[in-house]
Symmetry: C2
Subunit: 124 residues, 2 copies
């Protein structure tokens, strides 16, 4: 456990929803200025493999968020401005552990709802 990792982990755990590696880098740098972006990528990769972070493939850069118990949520992605809001309710039937299709064993899921955020519906 190095200072670099600690900085990344600290920032990520404070994230509620969907930060890009660059955003995490910018924030973690405040604590640890010599931190390289590469290390952020490597640490995030590590956390994903350990199940501590989730990776979100959305339009634009890959985003990450912590996988805290009891904080399962989905995402509302604005098609106009690209903003992302969490949606606490889970809208799907439990699928983890189930088997589908051609004997495909499910271990996780990801649901994104696309549409238009409040700002974009009613511009200031």
């Amino acid at each position: 456990m190095t200072a670099s990792r600690r900085a990344v982990i600290q920032v990520l755990s404070a994230v509620q929803c969907a930060y890009s590696a660059e955003e995490i880098h910018r924030r973690a740098r405040r604590r640890h200025p010599r931190l390289g972006l590469v290390t952020v990528y490597r640490t995030l990769e590590l956390l994903v493999q350990q199940g501590l972070a989730r990776r979100l493939d959305l339009p634009g850069p890959t985003r990450y968020e912590p996988t805290e118990e009891g904080r399962h949520h989905h995402h509302l992605v604005c098609l106009s401005c690209g903003s992302i809001e969490p949606l606490q309710r889970c809208l799907i039937e439990p699928v983890e552990g189930a088997t589908f299709g051609r004997r495909f064993r499910v271990t996780g899921h990801r649901l994104e709802l696309f549409g238009y955020c409040h700002e974009c519906i009613a511009p200031a």
Copy 2:
């Protein structure tokens, strides 16, 4: 309507599930060999905006598929080999048109199930 677009549209409409721009390019080239990858990107973007294609952000390159009525489906993404299978059943409650969270208006959704495909569970 140009020959290039026709080639891309023809290939895309034959796709059932999740092709990358490069794959579409390779196939469309068989009909129209001077077709550039750039035009494939541009045409796919156009089709997405017209609601004729759906864009899938998954690990790796962005994938595309036609949005044919009555063919709504989700994806089983193998975490081991990266293969993608369609899942015809829709597991979520209808959300199109509904409003969630901070007055977010939903127009579409995307569900991906992650896990391990038959091949990867029981290697040959």
